[in-house]
Assembly symmetry: C2
Homo-oligomer: 527 residues x 2
């Protein structure tokens, strides 16, 4: 590599690590990260990132190498991520909900050379590490576990200078491999790239009006794209403060909002529900809140109205997926009440369209697969050309979601494509039946509707329901109620009462597991 190649790269490149360098130059004294009692200004945080990056270089890590990261939310998580970004090293976050064989698969598949592990996770990771001898470099980050032997995160950077590491990194070099929680097989490695994450972060800051005066709580898992690439990187882009939390608890969060004058939180609808139900919500001073983001799904209208009233701030639903880095649509404050239940409109960097099975785009009002184009689409799935080609068929990214645009240009989500039930020649959105179930069955705590193999119907619509504690569900009464509410052909052929439903680490019901469990409900094979 010539000096002029490096110089040209340093001048022109799009690099997520550079956004930290620039913010540190522009807002040197502003708070970057607060993690427990530790507080770091942007100068301090950037200097720490540089020391770690220079240490990783000395340890042999270079552009294109993969470094795994198994950690709860922490300052060290963010330091590792930005150090990798500045070097062109690919950060591979480990989902803490994975089984040992999944972790081992990801470490092997990503060709990780090393791993940063929080001390209390060392034991849980040891099974996986035993299966992947190629991961030779284990760096132990501080945590609540026993003091570790060998190299620690503190020792790693000791004695290294905080000068900016200057290495060639390409605009479209991978920044992370984010393995999507596999529901049917081992997870796929979504290759995020610097341009994608950089543009997504700028877009998020623009669309949701982030400023350097903001103070964010980061409580969603950093090993997921939404907390990491959308929320934290956008905060760093503008110079806002990130207040790290290791997870969600209502009382602790409410206390923190008051104490730190938090301006922005980001969580799941059920977290907002728990906050609303917590007694402290009435006594804590929440007046600093300007924005509440939520993800995964639209909130029920009653909950949304209550949340807007109680928190007194703007609500934004982020709709998207890991492959899109992730935000594709924002359900914006101005639409929340007029279009409750919708999932919003496209963001500046994304074109959202509806496609039929043949690859033709559909006009407004028609239901089909939601597809996307835009520069924050993933590069592809790591070492999986077939899945990548399938995802990019017809020149659009296929979301696997089914939905439509209404007359106001607002996107509505109908169902996951694979959850649409094909029954007796009709297509039925499982979500529509689920919504009706909750309306007629007041004793239902949880419910899921799936199609199960059936000789006559191809798929028979089937409801699996979990009663509220101490309540009883009468399947016949439930079906009678449904018949008066939805089209006859949408009414389940059977209601199965269960004790609980299988869920992913983000709380999504694993419908494929439900389908597998009851696969022979109608066909009656030996099981």
């Amino acid at each position: 590599m010539s000096a002029s190649e490096l110089h040209d790269n340093l001048i022109h490149r799009v690099n997520v690590g550079d956004s930290l360098t620039r913010t540190a130059a522009r807002h040197p004294r502003r708070t970057a990260v607060v993690d427990g009692a530790r507080r770091f200004t942007y100068t301090e945080f950037n200097a720490w990132v540089n020391r770690v990056a220079n240490a990783l270089t000395a340890r042999g890590y270079a552009r294109g190498d993969a470094l795994a990261l198994a950690s709860g939310n922490s300052a060290e998580f963010l330091v590792t991520y930005y150090a990798c970004a500045k070097l062109g090293v690919v950060c591979v976050p480990v989902n803490l909900g994975w089984r040992a064989d999944e972790v081992a698969y990801v470490l092997g598949h990503s060709k990780s050379r090393g791993i940063v592990v929080e001390s209390q996770l060392l034991e849980a990771m040891s099974d996986a590490l035993g299966k992947v001898p190629a991961v030779t470099d284990v760096i132990v980050a501080p945590g609540t576990g026993a003091a570790a032997e060998g190299g620690t995160f503190e020792e790693l950077a000791e004695g290294f200078p905080d000068t900016e590491p200057e290495h060639v990194v390409g605009d479209r070099d991978p920044i992370t491999y984010l393995y999507t929680s596999g529901t049917t097989s081992f997870p796929k490695g979504v290759m995020g790239n610097h341009t994608a994450i950089y543009l997504e972060s700028t877009m998020m800051a623009l669309e949701a009006r982030f400023t350097e005066e903001d103070r964010f709580v980061a409580m969603m898992p950093m090993f997921h794209t939404a907390q990491l690439n959308c929320h934290c990187t956008a905060a760093v882009m503008v110079g806002a403060a990130i207040h790290v939390r290791r997870g969600f608890d209502a009382a602790g969060l409410l206390e923190q909002i008051e104490r730190e004058r938090i301006t922005q939180i980001f969580g799941l609808p059920m977290m907002y529900q728990q906050l609303l139900e917590h007694p402290d919500v009435a006594t804590r001073d929440l007046s600093s809140l300007r924005r509440a983001l939520y993800a995964m799904a639209a909130m029920p209208e009653a909950q949304l109205r209550q949340a807007i009233e109680v928190f007194g701030c703007e609500f934004y639903l982020l709709f998207g997926q890991t492959e899109m880095s992730p935000t594709t649509n924002l359900f914006r404050p101005e639409h929340q009440l007029s279009h409750a239940g919708a999932v919003g409109s496209a963001v500046v960097n994304v074109q959202t369209a509806i496609m039929d099975a043949d690859g033709s785009l559909l006009p407004q009002g028609e239901v089909g697969e939601i597809v996307y184009r835009g520069p924050h689409t993933m590069t592809g799935y790591l070492d999986d050309a077939e899945a990548t080609a399938e995802a990019f068929e017809h020149g659009w990214f296929h979301s696997g979601d089914v939905g439509y645009f209404d007359a106001d240009g607002i996107l509505w989500f109908s169902d996951r494509r694979k959850d649409v039930i094909k029954t007796g020649g009709e297509n039925v959105a499982s979500m529509e039946v689920e919504k009706a179930l909750f309306e007629v069955g007041e004793d239902i705590a949880e419910a899921v509707v799936v199609g199960l193999p059936h000789e006559r119907w191809t798929e028979a619509i089937t409801a699996v329901v979990v009663p509220k504690p101490g309540r009883r569900i009468d399947p016949e009464a439930l079906l009678a109620g449904l018949r008066s509410r939805i089209d006859r052909y949408k009414v389940p052929k059977a209601v199965i009462v269960a004790g609980e439903l299988p869920r992913t680490s983000t709380g999504k019901i694993r419908k494929n597991v439900v389908r597998e469990s009851f696969a022979e409900h109608y066909t009656g094979g030996a099981g």
Copy 2:
């Protein structure tokens, strides 16, 4: 090119034309462009752009070809620009202040295949076109001139479909060659690229809080980067309305602000001065204004205070240059009064630093050359490797400006590097002497300070002043006043009284012309 290469490009690319496509999908019914009595929604404007792009393709234009554009501000200007962007054709705006030989040079140097010319400019362009036979395709846009023979802009697109043109365009493909107004030689072609302009536009929208509710007046020349790439492209990014004006006149602008409820204007300090002095400013309803942008130079503090009071909106100074696409620093509303005279702080995409002559970065407070890094730096100068290498020396873009950061991290501009006068072993900023001149010489209308060749002083500080109409300037009294105000070695060795000063089309005094005119003032050579 394979279908999958095109598909991959359409999904992932960073393309300025795509930002229009996306805005048209998101805000189909919002106003995009208003030009006189003509109003276009984003659907209509995008459809027009697509028809023109498809027509240009049929005419043989393809990725990498150059198409020149000689036009005042108009809807056709913006249509041509976006049509080129979608095709990967390079748009080459012609500065309407150029002489025929400069136009001919640019057409030849850029290898333009064709040119779009407003009808009233046809005659002015004919000399230049006669010298460049390679420009075979002349497309006449409507204007105030005589009806043209041959292909017109309306005929061009007639019968072509408004389907999205889908062609491979690279992230770093050139989008414009913007020739910088040459002060010493023929202009240099600044190669802007799609990633640079796309990121600059997003940055501008983020930093100055543009929204789809905004209504912009575009009155600065669109053949300059600031009006085109910073203001118009950022408006299109968010879905704001662009109200085209062919130039500045105070009365017309004030009337338009009231009539169209304009939210944003962008002009030069002298334009704001004229607005402030116009009687209509007191009677027009200017309450819709939210933001006033200005460029080129800081406003005098008194003018700025008056402007903020009269217009009742936020003021932003854009500091930068064509090579940086162009904005590098914003002098923000919150600093305007506390740091009057400064030029602001870096924007999110740009790192701004101060460098000494050896290429070392200087600490806060020290004076040196202002240098930049960031993804909206130009690709380079077209076919000028030497000038490009010089501009990018030491891995930073050299602005040619001299300045420093104050203790609050705010950037102050001292002078153009080439205008710093080297006299008797000292470096003197010409601007400091100019500022003092205006303070002591109340009869001065215009003044410029240059260094002229001198046997003893190397360069002798020399003031060239123009008196106000009907006033007289006494050089001796002026020098006496200066001696009591600035360091002795900064006082000019001579004061030359002149009738006028040479200026560029943007109103900058051409100091190099002043230097040439008086080059032998002290050496007394035969002239």
